[in-house]
């Protein structure tokens, strides 16, 4: 993949000194949107009062036993299928370590035999990122440190633990080290998040911790085939942090090598305020988790028919959405408008409007510009309202200017567009009426009209402005421009 003339890999990021490339793999943890927890009947619910969704099992009380949640298993397998992975027979292991957020002092997780293996994900750019595995595990409780310096562990006076999150189902998706730049990492997480939301696996909320990303970063001279020592970066709470942390870390490692130093295998913490990564622990201090097969659970042996049923139930995935929209609007590859229109937060509206038979170009334009500027779209703004609005514009019941205003007000006040239009007293001029108005403007401004006809084309804008003024914005700008052109060619 190395360009022989510049000795620069096509994907090597420009912020690194020439001759160096990034090798990055991501571990993404996603909380599954199940009704109940992974091994007990407690509700899986974000934001409940602390320690209310708990029972002997997720508190790890003596004598309690785990029983696998079938819904979680189904969703986990759907993730595998959406990532083109093999869904296979698997078992659970115990990962043993002491920490108060882990009530049993071991985590039930899949280890060397995961549910999903060997998949891939194709970025919008066409780059293929391998998926090594996507396995199930349980989440820990949540610790809040009080007192001391700003809620950090060190110096905290005491800690509060909320076990509502203990036992919430997680799937960890481990990519191959195929990611070559911070931007590819951003694309990967964006695409993965869109997939998870599309299949109903996760709500994808990074800020609530339902999607958590760790990055394994190393660098090497282009052309070197061996991997160099990698560092694992934690605390990446947003796409912005992800991009900045990988950029920083890659630069740091290149500097170390350039100074003839040695990069140590470390877990590092992204410090957003200082914009640096800091070492948490090195490999020698790494814990021995003493993995062994969880004796309280039985092996999972998914049948072909079960897997087939799940495969058939998969919805349209982001990549298919992208291809569908490109096809509908007549593009070879996706542009920014299409990437925006397929965002999980917007695509539901787009899909509804397309299904309602509205012009795809108009739908993509309104969704990626106006609707996107109103994100997050509040609950209560109905899917069909966006379709209705686009249809009104398509049928010229609203001018494009009016359509934008009505859309904004409709989202803001959670009101159907027809009601907003009536409330604002908006009525679209019909074409005959508009022509009469334009003709009277031409008469009132005969000088300017003469000059325009003589070739002073900048006066077109003057006439459009006059038309808008006279009609109080009810005219459709595009149609007014066409009529003006007709008048010009007539004389």
């Amino acid at each position: 993949m190395v360009d022989s003339e510049t000795n620069q890999s096509p994907s090597a990021p420009s912020f690194l000194p020439e001759g160096w490339e990034i090798v990055c793999g991501l571990e993404v943890h996603t909380e599954l949107k199940t009704r109940t927890k992974l091994f007990c009947g407690c509700l899986n619910e974000f934001g409940s009062y602390p320690n209310t969704n708990i029972c002997p099992v997720c508190l790890g009380l003596p004598g309690a036993l785990p029983v696998l949640n079938g819904e979680a298993l189904e969703i986990a397998a759907r993730i595998g299928l959406a990532l083109n992975a093999t869904v296979q027979a698997s078992i659970f292991h115990r990962k043993n370590y002491f920490y108060p957020d882990m009530p049993k002092d071991f985590q039930i997780s899949q280890y060397d035999i995961p549910l999903n293996a060997d998949g891939y994900l194709i970025l919008p750019s066409g780059v293929r990122i391998g998926i090594v595995r996507a396995h199930m595990e349980e989440d820990t409780g949540k610790i809040t440190h009080l007192g001391g310096s700003s809620g950090r562990i060190h110096g905290a006076e005491r800690a509060l633990i909320d076990y509502n999150r203990s036992g919430v189902p997680l799937v960890e998706i481990v990519s191959a080290p195929d990611i070559a730049s911070p931007d590819e990492a951003r694309q990967y997480v964006t695409e993965l998040r869109a997939i998870l939301i599309a299949i109903g696996a996760s709500d994808g909320k990074m800020e609530e911790g339902s999607l958590r990303v760790d990055a394994n970063v190393s660098v090497r001279p282009i052309g070197e085939s061996e991997f160099r020592t990698r560092c694992e970066i934690k605390n990446l709470n947003s796409l912005r942090s992800l991009v900045r942390a990988i950029t920083y870390e890659a630069q740091r490692q290149v500097e170390v090598y350039t100074a003839a130093g040695e990069v140590l295998q470390q877990t590092r913490h992204w410090d957003e305020d200082r914009s640096i990564t800091v070492a948490l622990r090195t490999k020698e201090e790494a814990e021995d988790y003493r993995y062994f097969p969880e004796p309280d659970l039985v092996p999972l042996e998914p049948t072909e028919s079960w897997i087939g049923g799940l495969r058939e139930s998969l919805p349209e995935l982001p990549r298919q959405r992208r291809l569908r929209l490109c096809d509908l609007v007549g593009l070879d590859s996706a542009n920014d408008q299409i990437e925006t229109a397929i965002l999980p937060e917007l695509y539901g509206f787009v899909d509804a409007a397309l299904n309602a038979g509205v012009d795809p170009k108009l739908v993509v334009a309104r969704a990626s510009n106006e609707l996107a500027s109103l994100l997050p779209i509040p609950d209560g703004y109905e899917l069909e309202w966006f379709s209705d609005l686009c249809r009104m514009e398509m049928e010229r019941k609203l001018s494009s200017t009016q359509a934008k205003a009505v859309l904004q007000e409709s989202v803001k006040s959670l009101t159907p567009p027809a009601v907003v239009r009536d409330r604002l007293g908006i009525t679209q001029l019909d074409d005959d009426e508009l022509m009469i108005q334009i003709k009277s403007i031409v008469e009132e401004n005969s000088d300017e009209w003469t000059r325009l006809k003589a070739g002073e084309m900048q006066l077109k804008g003057f006439f459009i402005g006059q038309i808008m003024k006279k009609t109080g914005g009810k005219a459709d700008g595009k149609i007014a421009a066409k009529m003006l052109a007709v008048l010009l060619s007539e004389d």
């Binding site: 009380l61 003596p62 002491f98 062994f292 309280d296």
Partner: protein, 492 residues
């Protein structure tokens, strides 16, 4: 000798005797005996009498009562029941009262049983003498100078001393069968998965199994029918086992092929061997075909067990960390609190096994220890399966010796571990096995015969047990220690 569980249930259900009366008798017997026997760690008199009163009220109202109506039962103190403390005979759980009841407890209660107390055990069921209890050892009712066996020594002693007709224990490597043999009562370890483990504080999850103690084979049959069956709270519980055990009494033995396990006879006391041979002769007389069988793989059982059980225990016992329940010894930070709590809370044997298990699972040693032990487990299972091609069931000694004296093995862990050499292979194979009292040695100490059967072979196992019981004349072996007899009957 006290009444059997089935007799009590019949008397209570028919209204001839009251459940409260039986409960009070049991509670009084605990009170009189516990000073010297130490079979019980806790009672809850009010709760017990209330439960018994409910049974009587149901009988009075003409409602249907269960198969264990008014039967006083004792629970090994590693099983949870709301209203009773669960200590596992460990300081680390001293005072912990579980907010839920084990599935076996719920099933017993649903059939009318009345829990009268929680019985002593080796701490976290780790031991073969009940000497490892943090609350002092239980004494053998037959000879107070001797151990009752373990780890379910309290349950065995409570039944042997006729305090209760029925008790539950747990068996990880022989912890029901060995104390049953040493105290002269019936003790059953069912097929792994036949009885739910939900609410049993885990020692070694892949080996633990709950089972009954009773003075008659019939009572154990009744109890196992009650507590067995699928449980949606235990993923390893067996779906579909429905046994008819009580009905096995008196079913002819004609044509049943029984093997005497050669390897289990090695190293046993002569009197124990003589008892097994005598039992075999009786079975032959009853129509069975008895022959010797060799299962050399079982020789590896002890070594594999002392990898697998400590490994699982090291993980299962991690949760006793001073954070959420039980003992907490404050340290300067959470890691120190963990260490201080566990140092103060666990006894020596528990610490020894946690260290063994932690080592066996550590990175770099897993394949050599835990991985290898799992292979041995599979080999032993195959060895049994091979034997079951030629035999329908097997018999052997339960324990190489009769009850030993206090302190005799306590200082030598390896000698103690050898107590379970005949019982451990059944746990590794996941097969059922039980101890049936058959005779006594020259000192009057009870000797039990172990009956082993293939997985889910409980019906045949009980058929053979009934036959052994009949040929032995039944009615227990070894009479109660006179000192105990005196306090038990004193004031009457």
């Amino acid at each position: 000798m006290g009444k059997s569980a089935s007799e009590i249930a019949e008397l209570v259900a028919s209204g001839r005797r009251s459940a409260v009366e039986f409960a009070e008798e049991a509670l009084d017997a605990i009170e009189r005996s516990n000073g010297i026997l130490n079979a019980f760690l806790s009672v809850n008199r009010d709760l017990t009498l209330e439960a018994a009163g409910r049974i009587d009220a149901m009988v009075a109202a003409g409602e249907k009562v269960g198969r264990l109506a008014g039967v006083p039962v004792a629970l090994k103190d590693n099983m949870c029941q709301i209203g009773f403390d669960t200590t596992c005979a460990s300081k680390i759980l001293n005072g912990w009262s579980p907010p839920y009841s084990a599935t076996v407890v719920q099933k017993m209660i649903a059939e009318g049983a009345v829990t009268v107390g929680k019985t002593n055990l080796d701490e976290f069921a780790m031991g073969s003498s009940t000497e490892n209890s943090a609350f002092g050892p239980t004494r053998n009712p037959i000879d107070l100078e001797r151990v009752p066996g373990g780890s379910s020594g309290g349950s065995a002693a409570a039944v042997a001393a006729s305090i209760v007709p029925l008790a539950l224990g747990s068996d990880t490597g022989g912890s029901i069968r060995q104390p049953a043999s040493l105290t002269g009562v019936v003790g059953v370890k069912p097929t792994y998965g036949v009885v739910s483990r939900y609410g049993l504080v885990a020692f070694a999850s892949s080996l633990d199994q709950i089972g009954p103690f009773s003075r008659t084979v019939g009572d154990s049959a009744l109890a196992l029918e009650v507590i067995s069956g699928w449980d949606n709270m235990d993923s390893t519980s067996y779906d579909g086992a429905k046994f008819s055990l009580v009905s096995q009494q008196g079913v002819p033995m004609d044509g049943v092929r029984i093997g005497i396990v050669k390897e289990f006879m090695d190293g046993c006391d002569e009197e124990v061997l003589a008892a097994v041979r005598a039992a075999a002769e009786q079975l032959s007389k009853a129509g069975a075909k008895v022959d010797e069988v060799s299962i050399p793989e079982t020789k590896l059982g002890l070594s594999a067990y002392y990898i697998i059980a400590p490994a699982e225990a090291s993980s299962n016992l991690a949760r006793f960390d001073g954070v959420r329940f039980g003992l907490r010894v404050e340290g300067s930070d959470i890691a120190e609190t963990n260490v201080k709590t566990r140092t103060a809370g666990f006894g020596d044997e528990v610490k020894r096994r946690i260290m063994l298990g932690t080592y066996a699972l550590s990175s770099g040693y897993y394949d050599a220890y835990y991985g290898k032990a799992q292979q041995v487990k599979t080999m032993i299972k195959r060895g049994f399966e091979r034997a079951y091609r030629d035999f329908d069931a097997l018999i052997s000694p339960v324990s190489p010796t009769t009850a030993f004296r206090f302190g005799e093995r306590a200082s030598n862990p390896l000698a103690m571990y050898l107590s379970d050499v005949c019982t451990i292979p059944s746990n590794l194979a996941g097969h059922p096995a039980m101890s049936v009292p058959f005779s006594a040695d020259s000192s009057g100490l009870p000797i039990g015969i172990q009956v082993l059967a293939p997985a889910l072979g409980e019906e045949l196992m009980f058929r053979i047990a009934f036959s052994i019981e009949r040929s032995s004349g039944g009615g227990g072996f070894g009479s109660l220690d006179p000192a105990l007899e005196e306090v038990m009957t004193g004031g009457r």
